[in-house]
């Protein structure tokens, strides 16, 4: 199962690396990253496609872990798609 997470955050030095690192350390494989840098005074947006590695992993837990990171404004799960295996 792949998941898409959209994270809005206050732009700050190292914040993109911090967020991506957190997702990987919590046991999720990164399948895609789309970063929209903030306009002046605006918010940054990170759109991640992730897949959980084996283990007791819940998206609700990951979202809560992301949401407690300093400077994160919101975390949303956009879609939950079944992983399509090639024939």
């Amino acid at each position: 199962m792949t998941h898409r997470i959209e994270i809005d955050f206050e732009p700050a030095e190292g914040q993109v690396v911090r967020l991506i690192g957190l997702v990987e350390r919590r046991g999720y494989e990164l399948l895609g990253v789309n970063f929209q840098p903030a306009a002046v005074g605006g918010k940054g947006r990170l759109d991640l496609s992730v897949r959980p590695r084996p283990g007791p992993r819940r998206m609700e837990t990951l979202k809560a872990q992301i949401s407690r990171v300093y400077g994160v404004l919101s975390v949303r799960e956009l879609t939950a798609e079944p992983l399509r295996e090639s024939a």
Binding site: E13, G14, V17, R25, P56, E60, T61, A64, R68, Y70
Partner: protein, 567 residues
């Protein structure tokens, strides 16, 4: 910002101009910091220059890891962020273990590091390392300061972030040109402050929790380090006293309910008591408060409390259902939640009696054969003799588990242990931090012959500041816990655990100017305990114990808590 390298003494003559370093010191003073643990070096020198003449009490350690671990313990005692400081490069990397320790155990800490000047960053300059990057996984947040004018605001934020929500360490990296820069500071510098969020109580969740408790016939209260973090021990005790639900603690929870109170069954988990693990295993409702279903507590997770529904109360919403699905999750102020829970109790008298009987039946015994020192008995007697004023700081290994099993604790701050990271070398620096944070306490560091060598240089710090730390060193000339596992799970293939060539630890202590003596026989225990506890100033008691002594009970790794091994 001006690039001029004006010194603190120059700047003090021009009140309107201050260096970045002066702003750092002022920010620490504004936060009410009293003690700073650190070690100077090239990139942090401007801050050390500004320290002189400040109100801050700087404790010069002999290794940066000691600074971080001392600050950690200071924070656990006071409830306020501990502060440690180091220079760039190796100074910063030496802090990392201490930061990770604080991160794993949710201890508020502000770490300050020097950095090479901004133009040199990225050029492989002398003592340049990416401190910001290296520490990302082990801090709650971090700042690389680019402009001295940001210092007041960043420090205010750093202290707020470290202490709020789920506490943890934060790091502020200060390039040297930033701390040297002289900036115009017109009047008071406004710092952004935010009121801590107050979470409303979940009335529906509380009601559901109350229903589950009413319906339960075999409930167990399972609590952890979150109690001490949120200073909720009074609320926990009130809840325990009005419900009389049998209780068990994690390693970090010990002391939140006094360990000698009836109904408290001891620590659960890998080296927990049989009474505690049996109660959890047989329970029909687990009320988890400020704990996180850590693997050392649960053993094989899918067999943990197999027949229990779960109510989980925690300060961190991310912990709810992280490892164990719950019927009711209540995130927020733990004390307020517990005080709002007034369930009508069902009849649990038979269950209470079963648990009480088990506690008596499986109580630890101290009548070990032979005449050698029996470490569990020694620790039990020492804690009783020290009384309620005791603070124990532990290192990591067999002695750590013996302390948890056999010492009496009446408050959570009395037991400082590296629970999450399991940092050998925690004990002595933590003892320093604890003794400075609570000078009237009797602070005893219980260490092992493996662990003590990890930070033995801090004996010099103890001597320098005449810190009255009591060190109880249990020496089995082995890496005892590793040896125990090799004996039990690796077919007695003892690999690299024999410390037969240990130095004479009493002589080492004396070389540092610390009184020391050796205990070799059980007959001398009472005298040794008295000398340890009554000696004015620091003292080390070197205790020789049987290298074959193991920690019991033990749940083998990967096994269920119901599969406990005994001696």
């Amino acid at each position: 910002m001006q690039p001029a390298a004006q010194t603190s003494s120059d700047a003090s003559q021009h009140a309107a101009f201050k260096t970045g370093a002066q702003l750092v010191v002022e920010a620490l003073e504004r936060e009410g910091v009293t003690d700073v643990f650190g070690y100077p070096g090239g990139a942090i020198m401007p801050v050390y220059d500004a320290l002189t003449g400040s109100s801050l009490n700087h404790i010069l350690v002999r290794h940066e890891q000691g600074a971080a671990l001392a600050a950690d313990a200071w924070a656990r005692i006071t409830g306020r962020p501990g502060v440690c400081m180091a220079t760039s490069g190796p100074g910063a990397t030496n802090l990392v273990t201490g930061l990770a320790n604080a991160f794993m155990d949710c201890v508020p800490m502000v770490a300050i590091t020097g950095q090479v000047a901004s133009p040199l960053m990225g050029t492989d300059a002398f003592q340049e390392i990416d401190t910001f990057g290296i520490t990302l996984p082990v801090v709650k947040h971090s700042w690389l300061v680019r402009d001295a004018a940001d210092i007041p605001h960043i420090f205010a934020e750093a202290f707020r972030v470290a202490a709020s929500g789920r506490p943890g360490p934060v790091l502020i990296d200060l390039p040297k040109d930033v701390t040297q820069a002289s900036i115009h500071t017109p009047g008071v510098i406004a710092c952004r402050t935010e009121t801590p969020a107050v979470f409303p109580l979940d009335a529906q969740g509380l009601a559901r929790a109350g229903q589950l408790i009413t319906a339960a016939r075999r409930p167990v209260l399972y609590f952890g380090g979150g109690i001490a973090l949120s200073r909720a021990e009074d609320a926990l005790r009130r809840f325990f006293q009005r419900t009389r639900i049998p209780a068990v603690a994690t390693l970090k929870g010990l002391g939140a309910i006094p360990t000698d109170w009836p109904g408290f069954l001891g620590m659960l988990g890998m080296h927990g008591t049989r009474a505690a693990n049996t109660a959890v295993n047989d329970s029909d409702l687990l009320i988890c408060v400020g704990a996180r279903f850590d693997d050392r507590a649960t053993g094989k997770l899918d067999t943990f409390a197999p027949g229990a529904r779960v109510i989980h109360i925690d300060g961190d919403a991310a912990e709810i259902s992280k490892l164990r699905a719950v019927e009711v999750g209540l995130a927020g102020d733990i004390g307020a939640i517990l005080d709002a829970l007034h369930p009508i109790m069902g009849d649990i008298s038979a269950w209470q009696k079963t648990c009480a009987d088990n506690a008596v039946r499986w109580a630890f015994r101290y009548d070990a054969p032979g005449s050698g020192v029996y470490a569990p008995g020694l620790l039990n007697a020492m804690a009783k003799a020290a009384g309620d004023n005791l603070i124990v700081t532990c290192d990591v290994g067999q002695h750590q588990m013996w302390v948890a099993q056999h010492c009496r604790f009446t408050r959570p701050q009395a037991h400082l242990t590296s629970a999450g990271l399991g940092t050998m070398g925690f004990g002595i620096p933590a003892g320093i931090g604890a003794a400075l944070a609570e000078p009237d306490a009797t602070v005893v560091t219980v260490s092992g012959d493996g662990s003590i060598m990890m930070n033995i240089q801090e004996l010099a710090t103890i001597r320098r500041y005449r810190i009255p730390l009591k060190i109880l060193l249990l020496d089995n000339s082995q890496l005892g816990m590793v040896r125990q596992w090799q004996e039990l799970f690796y077919q007695e293939n003892f690999s690299e655990v024999d410390l037969y060539d240990n130095p004479d630890f009493a002589e080492i202590a004396r070389a540092f100017g610390i009184e020391a003596f050796t205990l070799e026989h059980r007959a001398g225990e009472a005298e040794a305990i008295e000398r340890l506890l009554t000696t004015r100033g620091p003292v080390l008691c070197h205790v020789r114990i049987d290298p074959r002594e193991n920690v019991w009970p033990l749940v083998p790794p990967g096994k269920s808590n119901s599969e406990m091994m005994e001696a």
